[in-house]
Symmetry: C2
Subunit: 417 residues, 2 copies
């Protein structure tokens, strides 16, 4: 079935319908989890699932499933999917591609009346982005028992609305019995969100796993004072040592090969032009695919930051908000993706994913893998996010081949056609 | 009249009445300009002015005057005062001291039936703090024609209420003809709001003038990107160069003696833990009593910041939001304050004011001076703001002596007593 291909036109049209639900003026998407926009998208998605004759289920986290039965109805499912929610002013492809390409794969199977040995389930996961309810990947994390149901339900958005209330508000609070349970493989097609494939001039990224990372909050406490009268030598400005820490954290990546550090969030108090900052709080995101090196980097950072705090006579407090070890994907799925790319004659390379994905948690309940396609200029979580139509087509074709392989498509002969 | 002294008890009781109008749970004051709290304070103040037989006027900026006639009714007035509004969760003394000590001085003159050659006017200026309506010192600036009436009236608070509407709402929109016009001297007693007097162990600060300053906004533009997948060498993180700039701005004070620089306000965009900052905006407050050195510092800073931007391949934009040159106070008033402190045997020193005060603008229409008393730990614009009762008493005694001198108090013989 090497010649079987997805319909580029149909897939792009389907993506275009999604791109209109929560569209921003600058060509991006603003569709936060469980908002009115998300509800509209979910309704549209369910319509498509039903049109494809899939059996629709909604679980207690609002995850949507569309099941296509296999010849072996009791066999474990092959699951594929991603998420339809976006970052604030995010892009059209992040998450959306993986869900709608999965739909396209099923449409192709239907068009060609292809039966598979194992059932296929398409999944749209709730709140992958973590933009409305932190942490990210809340609902796939729920399936993996990474988070308890109580924890998930009690997460609040910035207006104090809980995850559970938001699910009820848009009518997507389903039942626990609808969760996916018996699943052999999970495959997620996604844009890379980084520049590596483009730089290396490769079309298909065969994802080896997801880099572990730590999220740390650093608080520096000095003393607030009026900028006018306070002599420089009398100040306990929290911002000056914080700035030195930010630079040190950046320079740590030169010490440890493959380490990535990001200070993304900074709060200054009281944040007034003529007042010396009394407190600065900032976030640190540390990533390395080697868990030991990442923990070593964290220790090094702690030492270096403590020294800066000491020299500036300010207090410093470091807390780890979240951490996750590196997840390595299934060798069987990695091999299947590699075979598909080779068969289709698409250039490919192996790489680690920097960002987390639903696949990260699914890896604890299924043999999991991911397929990446290039992101132009590596830009993502941004309205300028872009992937080429030709790469979208190729990514979906690889997904199709992997599904045919892992779900064990039956030949016409086998099904007696 | 060397032996004439203010009543410490009466002054402290008067300050205590003020401290109850807009009191915060932590012992501070929250009395923003032209709010209900400010209205209550103004009504109380007017009651006191009338009890002291002063003629009350309210001008078109809501400034309140209490006039005590001099023997020479056509002579220029000696004005004294400050402001009764506070910062959000500010202190009990900032501004309040200067107004209520002026009232105490007049009470002492009344008690002792002292006539002066020149009329005396107590002033409470509207919106000195600039906390509700920016910029600060709006109403004294109006008297000095630093701001036009249209500009002042159209300033809006964060709820969109204009200065003029706020004046009308609390019933304090007076008449232009009531502005102070014929004024020889202006004297403002104020807490230092800095640590210098305490550190030098002096009671009375003889203020030489107000340090000039510039408020500059620096914007650093890099590129937003996802922290996970973007390799360090591919990033255009705006925060790393911004941190280097903040350190450079701090170090500039080691190059130029007497220079003070403060980065008080920082905004990071999009300010998300796992997103590389695409834009950082921060404020710079630069102060030096020498105008030329301050402008030189500004140029040096621009050079240094441009170099950092260039090395990091980010854009940088620097705009001056506001600037004001150093104001030097009247030698006659400075001498009078010095004589008073000496006569009373209070330790004193000359110093410049870092923060601006209404005296800054009054200096353009009157020969002006200021008296400082120590602020414990130099803390101000804060509920912990504190000055000792004994220093309050001494500051008011100096003010009394200066008024007796400049308003030309008549001896009992002169007035035929």
């Amino acid at each position: 079935m090497d010649q079987l291909k997805i319909s580029r036109k149909r897939l792009l049209e389907t993506i275009a319908v999604s791109a209109a639900i929560g569209a921003t003026a600058n060509g991006g998407l603003h569709r936060l989890a469980l908002t009115e926009e998300d509800r509209k998208m979910r309704e549209q998605f369910i319509t498509w699932l039903k049109e494809a004759n899939l059996e629709v289920r909604i679980d207690d986290f609002g995850n949507i499933y569309g099941r296509r039965e296999g010849r072996n109805a009791d066999g474990p499912a092959i699951a594929l999917g991603s998420h339809l929610d976006t970052q604030p002013c995010g892009g059209k492809y992040d998450g959306v591609l993986g869900v709608l390409a999965a739909l396209e794969v099923v449409r192709v199977l239907n068009d060609n009346q292809i039966e598979t040995e194992l059932p296929i389930e398409i999944i749209n996961f709730t709140n992958e982005e973590g933009a409305r309810f932190t942490p990210p990947m809340l609902a796939s994390g729920g399936l993996a028992n990474e988070f308890t149901k109580d924890y998930i339900y009690s997460r609040k958005d910035e207006n104090g609305i809980t995850f559970k209330e938001a699910l009820e508000n848009i009518g997507f609070l389903g039942e626990e019995k609808n969760r996916i349970r018996h699943v052999k493989h999970f495959i997620e097609l996604h844009i890379e969100q980084g520049p590596i494939l483009e730089k290396e001039n490769k079309t298909i990224g065969i994802v080896k796993g997801i880099q572990g990372n730590n999220w740390v909050t650093v608080k520096v406490i000095g003393q607030t004072n009026h900028a006018g009268p306070t002599p420089m030598e009398h100040r306990k400005d929290a911002l000056v040592p914080a700035a030195k820490m930010i630079i040190k954290i950046n320079e740590l990546t030169k010490e440890i090969d493959g380490l990535k550090t990001t200070v993304g969030k900074v709060y200054v108090k009281p944040n007034v032009t003529n007042v010396i900052p009394g407190e600065v709080e900032f976030s640190v995101d540390i990533r390395h695919e080697d868990n030991e090196l990442r923990m070593y980097a964290l220790e090094r950072m702690k030492e270096q930051l403590s020294t800066i705090a000491l020299l500036h006579d300010v207090e410093m407090d470091m807390t780890t908000d979240w951490h996750s070890d590196t997840v390595e994907f299934s060798p069987a799925v990695i091999q299947s993706i590699k075979n598909a790319a080779d068969k289709l004659n698409y250039s490919s390379m192996e790489l680690f994913s920097g960002p987390g994905h639903d696949a990260k948690y699914m890896a604890s309940i299924a043999e999991t893998g991911m397929i990446f396609i290039p992101s132009i200029n590596g830009i993502s979580h941004n309205e300028e996010e872009l992937s080429l139509d030709s790469d979208i087509e190729k990514g979906a074709n690889v997904l199709l081949q992997v599904v045919l392989d892992l779900a064990k498509a039956l030949s016409k002969k086998q099904i007696g056609a």
